[in-house]
């Protein structure tokens, strides 16, 4: 039974795909939005501190499940088949809304320099660092659209380093928690410029949903009162309301189909009952995030495209990057824990650029509220024995008296860090799985050491009696993680990139990749607002250049 032809198939309903589906369906295109995971409601999420997207020791709450393993090839060449809660898996939630259902929801705009790192710092040996084909100014109106349509609270007026913005954020920040009150004057004494973190979270009623109730289950969980703004409670319902968008959950994309003339004609996928379906469309948008998007392109092989789609010059899956997190933890003699979520509240951007001895940098912010198990298992990081009376005493004394300041260091893209499809291992649907390998650039380690020192100084100034630098970056392992990016780079030159500045795959006139994959570099910031802005920017061009149905190819 053939499915009704539509104008567009969007694969993946996360930060990128959800926005594209809404923009296209509002412009009158018929859209099918495919999502591999389920559509969860807030009632499906138990506040389980061992089984969520942040702490997944008993599994991730929003997937993916054991039916989709990945292969991790380590620096010695050994291969490991890893489940989704293994660090090397680079998990992102598999559900409607993708990562935006359960994220921490920091809503950063990249800085102007982040779009022209190569021009600002020069070529970096061992890195494919380049300028973007678009500038901050190109994206600015779309950052603003994301802030107002999805909903951002906060106040970055104290951030003297921020790029210019035309409109303020639509919602005020949440009231400051105790760590904010301690860190703000400390930063000011150090001559730094602290401010309220912009967050995709309602601080007041907005867009028909209520404000945050300040519970302790935020990052890693779905919001019980839907105050956290993801695509699943904003643009996706709006897309469906147009009557032009059909959301099909639990559908596993197998390949993008092309015809003998090299045009994309649709997507083959396994539906929720495991039946192979073929959805034809005038255009296809791949928004599966930076591991699954290249996997889908590389699995879409045909006589005309023997190496997969967009992969003529072997750039698909290259430059896998995320963030090298760094910072410091401090122990205090006064109580800090106030059970006032989300916890992360204050940041500085003093060290995003212009640091001595290395390229770029990153923001520093206080950490989200941590669960007892998270603090217990991090004891070794603050010099405490892992077990015994000393550990239990530490928990009693310091569970409410510790603070962590950390941030995402901008990584230098490395060509050898990559996603491929594994020649042997297949998922439960028989589709070759993603194979991840690579390493970090030495600059990442220089930057993290520097920033850890700055975090330590900030905590000391705030009154920490003991501080400990966090050492989380290792050069011989690949990057990725939830902030995965870079694997279908945007650029003007088809020889050294996969998509053009509007996210259209070079050499294809109706195939797009719209998610973090297109990032040339990933900023010293959580990337989601940039993914959203790029999705609005690319959709705007798609709608403007839409000339009606092309027929069935």
């Amino acid at each position: 039974m053939a499915l009704k032809h539509v104008n567009a198939v969007v694969v993946g309903s996360g930060a990128g795909g959800g926005i594209v589906a809404k923009e296209l369906s509002e412009a009158g295109l018929s859209v099918v939005l495919l999502e591999r995971g389920k559509w969860f409601t807030s009632f499906d999420d138990r506040k389980d501190d061992l089984r969520n997207q942040r702490t997944s020791v008993l599994g991730p709450s929003f997937g993916p499940d054991e039916r989709n393993p990945r292969v991790y090839a380590d620096s010695s060449g050994s291969e490991h088949v890893v489940p989704s809660n293994h660090w090397a898996y680079s998990n992102n939630a598999a559900c409607v809304g993708g990562g935006t259902l359960s994220y921490g929801a920091m809503a950063w705009r990249f800085m102007e320099q982040d779009f022209r790192l190569r021009s600002s710092y020069g070529a970096v040996e061992g890195s494919t660092l380049d300028d973007w084909p678009i500038s901050y100014a190109d994206l600015e109106p779309f950052y603003e659209k994301a802030e107002w349509e999805i909903g951002v609270s906060g106040d970055d007026s104290g951030n003297v380093f921020r790029a210019p913005r035309r409109r303020p954020l639509p919602m005020p920040p949440l009231s400051p928690n105790r760590s904010f009150q301690m860190l703000k004057p400390a930063a000011e004494r150090l001559g730094l410029h602290p401010f309220h973190i912009p967050m995709l979270r309602n601080s007041v009623p907005y867009n028909g949903r209520g404000g945050c109730m300040r519970c302790r289950w935020c990052v890693g969980y779905a919001c019980e009162v839907s105050a956290k703004c993801g695509t699943q409670n904003t643009v996706i319902p709006r897309a469906i309301e147009t009557g032009n968008c059909e959301l099909r959950a639990e559908c596993i994309a197998k390949e993008v189909i092309t015809n003998e003339r090299g045009r994309v004609t649709g997507v083959a996928y396994f539906d929720a009952q495991g039946r192979l379906q073929e959805q034809t469309a005038d255009l296809v948008v791949v928004s599966c995030s930076a591991v699954e998007s290249p996997r889908l392109l590389l699995n879409s092989k045909s006589r005309m495209f023997p190496n997969g789609l967009g992969n003529r010059y072997d750039w698909v899956g290259r430059n896998l990057q995320g963030h090298s997190y760094t910072g410091a933890s401090g122990l205090f003699e006064q109580e800090i824990y106030d059970d006032l979520g989300p916890g992360a509240s204050i940041a500085i951007c003093d060290f995003n650029h212009g640091n001595p001895g290395f390229v770029a940098g990153g923001l520093l912010a206080n950490e989200f509220l941590r669960s007892p198990y998270q603090v217990a298992s991090a004891a070794a990081e603050v010099g405490i024995p892992r077990w015994g009376s000393a550990h239990k005493d530490f928990m009693r004394r310091y569970f409410k008296r510790n603070m962590t300041v950390m941030g995402p260091m901008q990584e230098m893209p490395v060509f050898e860090s990559r996603v491929q499809v594994d020649p042997k291992v297949k998922d439960a649907w028989g589709i070759p799985v993603a194979r991840i390998s690579g390493r970090h650039h030495p600059n990442d380690l220089l930057g993290t050491e520097f920033m850890a020192g700055k975090a330590e100084a900030w905590l000391k100034e705030a009154g920490a009696s003991k501080t400990f630098r966090l050492h989380w970056t290792f050069l011989d392992i690949p990057s990725g993680g939830q902030h995965q990016a870079g694997t279908c780079r945007m650029g003007n030159d088809p020889n050294t990139s996969v998509v053009d500045k509007y996210c259209r795959v070079h050499d294809m006139d109706n195939l797009y990749v719209i998610d973090g994959s297109v990032h040339v570099n990933n900023g010293g910031f959580n990337p989601v607002l940039t993914i959203m802005a790029i999705a609005y920017h690319a959709s705007d061009n798609l709608v403007k250049t839409w000339k009606g149905t092309h027929g069935r190819g």
Binding site: L174, S175, P176, G211, S371, Y373, W387, K392, A428
Partner: protein
């Protein structure tokens, strides 16, 4: 269409069979109160976990149900570690017998601590540790004990929310009690 349905059923059966194979050892119906552990294993595990989180003015790991937590996970998400636990717990008792002529659970607290430090450093005596790393096994037990003691009670540990009460976290948690704080009160 028919062939596709068959394919999907085959895929499903393969997945189900792989899961069954991974489970390896049986869960339940072993004539003990436990799902996976034997009486002796549970006794050893209780003693180890009580060294990891000892009872003092607050209850320790075994009172909080850490053995129940681990037993339950060994029949769930930690199925793949069944053999590790079976071998590891037997090896702890073997090391203990070799050193002191007693089972681990019957040692004095000081003796238990000494043996666990050896385990942690990968220096535990006994031929049985030649096949498995004692530090790796001990690492699992430490981590799982922390999960069972400090994690959500729904998984069979942290009885009565004992660790959360110890840390001064409201239990049962009250949600939304902060909602009347005005976001206007900015610093």
């Amino acid at each position: 269409m028919q062939s596709r349905l068959k394919l999907s059923r085959r895929v499903f059966l393969q997945t189900a069979m792989a899961a069954a194979a991974a489970s390896g050892l049986a869960c339940g119906r072993n004539g003990t109160p436990w799902r996976f552990l034997t009486i002796e294993e549970a006794r050893a595990l209780a003693a180890i976990s009580d060294q990891i989180i000892p009872p003092d003015q607050d209850p320790g790991a075994s009172w909080a149900g850490v053995v129940n937590f681990i037993d339950r996970q060994l029949c769930g998400p930690y199925k793949s570690l069944q053999a590790t636990y079976r071998r590891g717990l037997a090896a702890v008792d073997q090391s203990s017998r070799g050193l002191y002529g007693k089972l681990f659970a019957d040692l004095s607290s000081e003796q238990q601590m000494i043996l666990l430090r050896q385990l942690e450093q990968g220096k535990a005596p006994g031929a049985i540790w030649k096949q498995a790393s004692s530090s790796e096994f001990f690492g699992y037990v430490v981590d799982h004990t922390m999960q069972g003691f400090y994690g959500d009670p729904r998984h069979g540990g942290n009885r009565e929310g004992v660790s959360w009460k110890m840390l001064g976290l409201p239990y049962p948690p009250i949600r939304g009690r902060q909602q009347n704080i005005s976001p206007k009160k900015n610093a």
